[in-house]
């Protein structure tokens, strides 16, 4: 299998001359309209560099992951509908503003997805959070649903599905199946993800063309064990136990 090469380009703000822009590996692009990749700013690349580095300690890993997760949540929330709302400001002007419309909930795919709950709560204080446990079945080597606990009224909510790593996408696809089976419309699901493989992102986006994928970075590819390359190791281990 020939290894696809990762795109390398200069990153940085426009006002800086090209000679002052450092070069880094940036996200692979995915030509699916429902895949939204965060702007590849030097800061985002630096944050990703921190969490990929095997020498980054757990406290830093958690802090820098959280910063990226908050960016994902902010970007994800921007896909939710708003309605016009006009208000009068404290100095007596009218402002044609908007009001957040509809209720949301988070659903984390255990256990790595749970690491994203804090970031979600930083932006949406009292958000309800459901959980889904999907494990790989040792016999069939296919993902299997072990457990789920979701808000009763989930069918009426917008769902932010949380999983930091999207490799083959098996668990994420199954999680979306679970949500749809509970009556959540496909286009009311947003999948928030830190790092995806190109094949995983493409496959997921094709299977569920109405689910919006918000990711920080699409990596180079998968290795023979289906780990993301270069990836960052086991996200759950690095966040919870290492």
């Amino acid at each position: 299998m020939s290894q696809p090469t990762a795109p390398s380009q200069t990153v940085g703000p426009e006002y800086r001359p090209a000679t002052q822009l450092p070069t880094a590996t940036v996200s692979t692009s995915v030509s699916r309209p429902n895949v939204h990749i965060l702007a590849q700013t030097p800061q985002l690349i630096a944050l990703l560099t921190m969490i990929r580095d095997k020498d980054t300690n757990r406290a830093d890993f958690i802090f820098y992951s959280n910063r990226i997760i908050r960016l994902l949540v902010e970007e994800g929330l921007n896909h939710l509908p708003v309605v016009a709302k006009e208000i009068t400001t404290p100095v007596g002007h009218t402002y044609a503003g908007v009001k957040f419309e509809g209720q949301i909930c988070g659903v984390s795919i255990m256990r790595a997805g749970e690491s994203m709950e804090q970031g979600l709560r930083d932006c949406c204080r009292s958000v309800r959070i459901g959980k889904i446990l999907i494990q790989r079945d040792e016999e069939t080597s296919k993902p299997k649903l072990y457990y789920d606990k979701l808000p009763e009224d989930i069918a009426e909510r917008w769902v932010l599905l949380l999983d930091p790593m999207l490799a083959t996408g098996g668990s994420a696809l199954m999680a979306v199946d679970v949500l749809i089976s509970r009556g959540v419309p496909e286009d009311h699901i947003l999948f928030l993800n830190l790092i995806a493989s190109p094949e995983g992102a493409k496959n997921f986006a094709e299977q569920f063309p109405k689910v919006r994928v918000v990711t920080a970075f699409v990596d180079q590819g998968l290795d023979e064990k289906n780990y993301i390359i270069p990836g960052l190791g086991d996200f759950g281990d690095r966040f919870y136990t290492m």
Partner: protein, 446 residues
Amino acid sequence: MASAGCRSHYSPPWGNASIIGVAGSSGSGKTSLALAMVASLDLPWVVIMSMDSFYKPLSAEQSKQAFRNEFDFDSPDAIDFDILVDRLRDIKTGQVAEIPMYSFEKHNRLEQTTTIYSPHVLILEGIFALHDQRVLDLLDLKIFAEADADLCLSRRLVRDVKERGRDIEGCIKQWFGFVKPNFYKYVSPQREIADIIVPRGIENTVAISMVSDQIRKTLAHKSMEHQQELKRLGKIAEDAPLSPNALILEQSNQVKGIHTLLMDPATSREDYIFYFDRLAALLVQTACDFLPFTPSQVTTPQGNVYMGLKRTAEASAVVVLRGGSAFETGLRRTIPDCRTGRILIQTNYKTGEPELHYRALPSNIAQHGLVLLLDPQMSSGGAALMAVRVLVDHGVPENKIVFITYLAGRVGMNRVLSVFPDVRIVVAKMGDDMEDRWVEARYLGC
């Protein structure tokens, strides 16, 4: 580098400090007189500087003489006029001046210095305040404090024994050996060039109120000049389009939704704080894109290599009090251990003129990779201009300063950027020019 073109000049109210010299015999009550003038003014912009700070450090031999009370401290030669003139020039031009500290117990200059910054009026007091021509050239008012010689001697005895740890015999030896002859030789002739001679020191309330009135007039004049300066810069700013160095946060649905909540007076305070913090974190995050980065190769736990970036400098922050403190929660979400300086700039409600009351900045701020200046609202830009000027005076390069604000008008931003074209402004929402300040009042609840 994107610059807004030509650079306008801005002189803060301390830009041309008035310096008042108070000379007089030792024990004539110069210090009390200066203190009485400051007390009668009761303003933070009037500062006293004693020439005692400028005694030359003594050599080992001189030091022995000094401990035997045989060194002549009352001759102009004992004073380091070169350093004094340098520091006075710094103060006159509104720069930061590091003033030496002199120990009378050790007869030597101490390691540490005190900083004098931004006085509108400086009172220089010392027996030779009117001695050196270079000093005289910098003085706006020359005062000579006169007192009876017996009174001078008794005051000096009390002070030197009580406050400077000397014995009576030594003091009397110094008085007749040095103080008295030097008085006739060097101190007394200064009367001739004084503008005002004040007899009887602090008892002379007429003289004190006369000088205070003079200082008050000077301050009022400076304040008026400063306001005119701001108006002039406003005129320049009015006609210009918004400078490219002002970066407005992308008005996404979430950002607009947060604006709607923040600007709606019906929003609860709890919600206001929550959403302001969220937006503050986004603003700080955006400003941090101005940090320098360099390529950095890392290895992942699986042994893969990733070619990423590494920050090469740290950002620190300076909070413009009191409003800027509303940004601190959001700041610490992005940089938990951010070094944070503070300056208090209050806008005088009578004149609309910003006034600098307090500053506490990290000592090495000039070396920081990026300094985020935090103030939630910019209306006329006067306070912002002053805050940037304070940082520049403390050695922070303009292009390392990012001014972060929630609400700002075009004129205010242009006013700042016409004076400091290499500064950057990150703003969440464009507001009206000259909009009243309300953002921090909502956050802080008063």
